[in-house]
Amino acid sequence: MNKRIALVFVPVGIGINIVGGMLASGLKLPVFLDTIGTILSAAILGPWWGALTGGLTNIIMSLQNPMDMWFALVNIAVGLIVGYVSIRFGFQKWIVVLVAGLIVAVVAPIIGTVIATYVYGGLTGGGIDVFTAGLMKSGADVFTAAFIPRIGSNLVDKLLSVFLVMFVILALPKNLKGFAAGPEKA
């Protein structure tokens, strides 16, 4: 993959993140689905371009709502994890994709909860706060109470995202797959 392709792939990845998130919230889905572009960029271009796609997504979104900037770290971590998995094993085998999705589904809410606990006290201002409040009242510390409701939705969110990307990559011609083709084919 030459640099020019990477330079245009990152904006498209950011666009996919933004449009994907908009569609998910428009359909009132209980998941975010706003990291598809990051995962796609990372799988094809590698970890650093993936991290750049993730980081820039939140930075550009923060031009409209600056509080989105905080969660750039989550998106960067998603890009790095998927990128390294893709470099090492490719991104076309379902078992590799499943393991990558599971790792991302655990790491992303851990980082997200640390940020949300510090900035927002672990709450979202939505209905899920009742669950968080219930866990806090039953004696759980703030981090645990904020983490447990997030892990379930992240599991569905990230697994759906990685498999969607895998199907897109499988449909791509060989010369456009980049690192996702696997170490021996890249």
């Binding site: 245009v8 709450l123 449909a171």
Partner: protein, 256 residues
């Protein structure tokens, strides 16, 4: 300025807009530095009183920049979550020992600290955004790094096209009988039916854009970088940022 030309829109007259003065004359780079220092200083503050002092100082700056009203309006974006934090922390915070009816005093104070800190973050970040504007920030990114600038510019041009693409795809799929509502499985199916064509078309567009960059000779010659002038105002800005973080750190250590 006359308003009777261009269909009621104000006509452009050279020199009609005053040259930026005072704080508004500062370049974007030092402002970004000051914003980063502000975020760090607020994050380092662990006492309500220190945070309130910083918040008051930021509001004074907003008054000086004449953006107090729009700045206060941005507080509404975190209004609901702030109310939730205070109520839920007062009711459910595990560390509460003293109670007034069902609400714990320690929980209330912890919630209040988080809310004041949250307002501090919102104020610092929106102060930057309202006083500078997104376009100036994008231009500054291009000045810092060419590749980053082209990526941000391409993103800003690609996103509206992709939104349009998404709307067209939704209409096309609905015409083929796709239902956008219903249970969770049906919604997920609708999501995939819209998202997969959007992603594939975006990739095709990406390769078209890469070819255009190649044809236009992007990367073959570097453009001249703008010269950053070090003025007294810029130096003061950097010094203020460092002082702000240092004061916040000292206050945190002293109040421990």
């Amino acid at each position: 300025m006359s308003t009777d030309t261009a269909g009621g829109l104000p006509a452009f007259e050279p020199g009609a807009f005053p040259h930026p003065v005072g704080l508004l004359a500062l370049p974007v780079g030092p402002r970004m530095f000051l914003t980063c220092c502000g975020v760090l200083a607020v994050a380092l503050s662990a006492s309500i009183s220190v945070l309130v002092v910083q918040l008051a100082a930021l509001l004074m700056v907003a008054i000086a920049l004449r953006i107090l009203t729009p700045l206060l309006k941005t507080w509404r974006t975190v209004g609901w979550v702030s109310a939730s934090i205070v109520v839920i922390y007062a009711w459910a915070y595990p560390g509460s020992t003293d109670y007034v009816w069902v609400f714990g005093v320690q929980g209330f104070l912890s919630g209040l600290l988080i809310v004041v800190r949250l307002l501090g973050f919102v104020t610092v970040l929106y102060l930057m955004l309202l006083s500078t504007g997104p376009l100036a920030i994008v231009r500054w990114v291009g000045d810092v790094n060419d590749d980053l600038g082209i990526m941000v510019s391409l993103t800003l041009s690609v996103v509206p096209v992709m939104k349009q693409q998404m709307e067209t795809t939704i209409q096309a799929q609905q015409a083929r009988g796709l239902e956008m509502g219903g249970n969770l499985v049906r919604k997920l199916r609708a999501y995939l039916a819209v998202m997969i064509p959007v992603v594939v078309k975006s990739l095709v567009r990406a390769y078209g854009m890469a070819a255009l960059l190649h044809v236009r000779g992007y990367g073959s010659g570097r453009r001249d970088k703008p010269v950053f002038r070090v003025t007294a105002a810029v130096v003061t800005c950097y010094a203020l940022g460092v002082l702000w973080v240092a004061a916040s750190t000292v206050a945190r250590l002293a109040l421990r």
